[in-house]
């Protein structure tokens, strides 16, 4: 059964230095508040896993939390580069970052394999491409029935997966809807998991085929309203496209990035204070 706790306690108890940490959400429901708490608690040597590192991992990488990144598309969606990721890869700042690169189809299959308790995933992919030459974990396998050559990739089984969802009920059953990405697979494939939610309700009022993660597959549920901002929560709030654009300016230099996290991450006690500041006004703006 999931325990309800503050986000601070959840990150302190569940995420350890050196963990393989997946934080999923495909543009939608990205667990930003949890990412900030990981930064605030100065977790180190993490292997970060996300199909699209997005601004959330740009922040964690710039803050020095990551040793390694596993990913499949590393841009700022609709805007351009992730400057902190590039600075880490190109200039080893704030320290070297090992990268392990895949395609979306590969990582999506690898999460399914993890949730399915399989050691690897089989797929049609990569034939004729150069990525397998640079990532030794992308291999091939012969179909034992037809002899066809297929791509094989190791499953993803994180130590911890963190996702954000719309609702939990009082038992800690979680409901999410809209663009679902690989969130369900990330939680089911992980040893431990944290779900932040917009709100707690008496009854989820879910239809039979809804995407529900039962309380007993989750370790912690934390109520963090607006916990996905600047990404969005379908039915609750929109994506803050302006922030994604502003991030390009903030993250471009080490100094402005450092100033931003000093004020907006280290300078606040928790997500409530940060979100109050951002809804009230200019805390997120470039400075």
């Amino acid at each position: 059964m999931a325990d309800f706790s503050s986000l601070r306690d959840a990150i302190r108890d569940v995420v350890h230095d050196g963990d393989v940490l997946a934080m999923e959400g495909f543009t939608h429901l990205i667990p930003f508040a949890a990412g900030h708490e990981v930064m605030r608690q100065k977790k180190r040597d993490l292997t970060l896993v996300r199909m699209t590192p997005d601004v959330i991992f740009d922040q964690l990488i710039g803050a020095g939390c990551a040793r390694k990144l596993i990913f499949s598309w590393g841009g700022n969606p609709g805007v351009g580069s992730l400057h902190r990721l590039r600075d880490a890869v190109e200039n080893k700042w704030p320290h070297p970052l090992e990268i392990e690169e895949h395609s979306h189809a590969d990582l999506a299959n690898a999460y399914v394999a993890g949730a399915s308790n399989l050691p690897f995933a089989v797929m049609r992919g990569y034939a004729g491409g150069d990525l397998p030459k640079h990532n030794p974990l992308i291999r091939s396998i012969l179909c034992p029935f037809t002899g066809e050559e297929l791509a094989a990739v190791p499953s993803i089984r994180p130590d911890v997966s963190i996702i954000h969802a719309q609702k939990a009920d009082r038992k800690g059953n979680v409901l999410l809807w809209g663009i679902l990405g690989v969130q369900k697979e990330a939680v089911l494939g992980a040893k431990r998991s944290i779900v932040t939610v917009e709100e707690v309700v008496d009854d989820l009022e879910a239809w039979p085929n809804a995407c529900i993660l039962p309380s007993w597959v989750i370790d912690r549920v934390c109520v963090v309203a607006r916990g996905a901002t600047p990404s969005y929560a379908h039915g609750y709030y929109e994506r803050d496209n302006r922030f994604y654009k502003t991030w390009d300016t903030i993250a471009r230099s080490r100094e402005s990035f450092q100033r931003w996290i000093d004020v907006n991450v280290y300078g606040v006690a928790g997500s409530e204070e940060y979100l109050q500041a951002t809804t009230a006004g200019p805390a997120q703006e470039a400075r």
Binding site: F26, T27, H28, M51, T52, F71, S72, W73, G74, G75, P77, G78, S81, R86, V89, E90, E101, H102, S103, H104, A105, A108, N109, Y111, V112, M123, R124, G125, Y126, A127, G128, G129, D130, L131, H134, E148, E149, G178, I179, L180, G181, V182, K184, E185, C211, Y232, H234, E238, R239, N241, R242, Y244, K245
Partner: protein
């Protein structure tokens, strides 16, 4: 609403319009973000209202009223026939063989239509690090055919890409067949200067159409290999007023929705 003195189409608009014309009504199209998404939605808003647009984030049959800024904008989910998980999109729908057309952009393309969105320079010591693969490698191999849209320059159209992120025709000829790839590969490359198609046999990209007013020299100068022209090079018919109006309305709505000056 109709401005009788409508500004003529820009080269970027013509590229988008010429790409949109390629999509047929009722086709199922796996859409990349940016220019492909603009072209695919323009097709839906003009001659192909029943085209089925699929985005890798999970929406199937998306009918966005404004162009998405990211591949997972809420507008895509809200307007879709259904939204499935990302593994399902790649496993059942793309790998399952349900996609007629994969619509892709790229940073770099070569004479055999291989695409690079990973690195300029070497992988270990890149001159420029690009975002990487995303869904493109499997779209390029599994969609029944692939349309590619990108601006033409000698830097983008190279003899050999620095990194094959997504395969076109590999080394040319029957390379795709030897790799047993499910799809036919790129059938059209649309740029702001011309349309290229793989030549029968060699599968080398060859100019088959020119935008009105573009010269062969311009295309040659903007291509990093000695580009060949088909025997009969057609001139692409100019944008109709309704195409141009639909595109400009779409861009205008998009800019307002995203609160920004440039919505491409």
């Amino acid at each position: 609403m109709i401005d009788t003195a409508m500004e003529p189409a820009t080269t970027t608009e013509m590229m988008t319009i010429a790409s949109a014309r390629l999509l047929k009504n009722h086709q199922v199209c796996f859409v990349g973000i940016g220019l492909p998404s603009a072209a695919a939605n323009l097709a839906r808003l003009t001659h192909a209202p029943e085209v089925v647009l699929i985005y890798e984030s999970g929406p199937i049959g998306a009918k966005p009223s404004v162009l998405p800024l990211s591949i997972g904008d809420g507008e895509l989910a809200t307007t879709a026939d259904t939204v499935v998980s990302t593994p399902e999109i790649f496993r059942y729908w793309l790998q399952g063989g349900r996609i007629d057309v994969g619509f892709l952009g790229a940073a770099q393309i070569d004479r055999f239509a291989n695409l690079n969105t990973t690195v300029i320079g070497s992988y270990e010591h890149p001159k420029t690090r690009l975002p990487g693969a995303g869904g493109a490698p499997e779209i390029a191999s599994s969609a029944k055919e692939v349309f590619i849209i990108l601006r033409q320059s000698a830097r983008a159209f190279v003899n050999k890409v620095d990194f094959i992120t997504s395969i076109g025709f590999g080394d040319g000829g029957d390379h795709r067949e030897r790799l047993r790839l499910p799809g036919r590969g790129p059938t059209k490359v649309v740029t702001d200067l011309c349309v290229m198609e793989p030549a029968p046999g060699t599968n080398e990209l060859t100019v088959t159409m020119l935008h009105a007013g573009v010269t062969r020299d311009q295309v040659t100068e903007s291509t990093g290999w000695p580009v060949q022209f088909a025997e009969n090079v057609e001139i692409i018919s100019p944008a109709t007023e309704s195409e141009l109006m639909a595109l400009r309305d779409l861009q205008q709505r998009t800019m307002i929705a995203h609160g920004m000056a440039n919505a491409e």
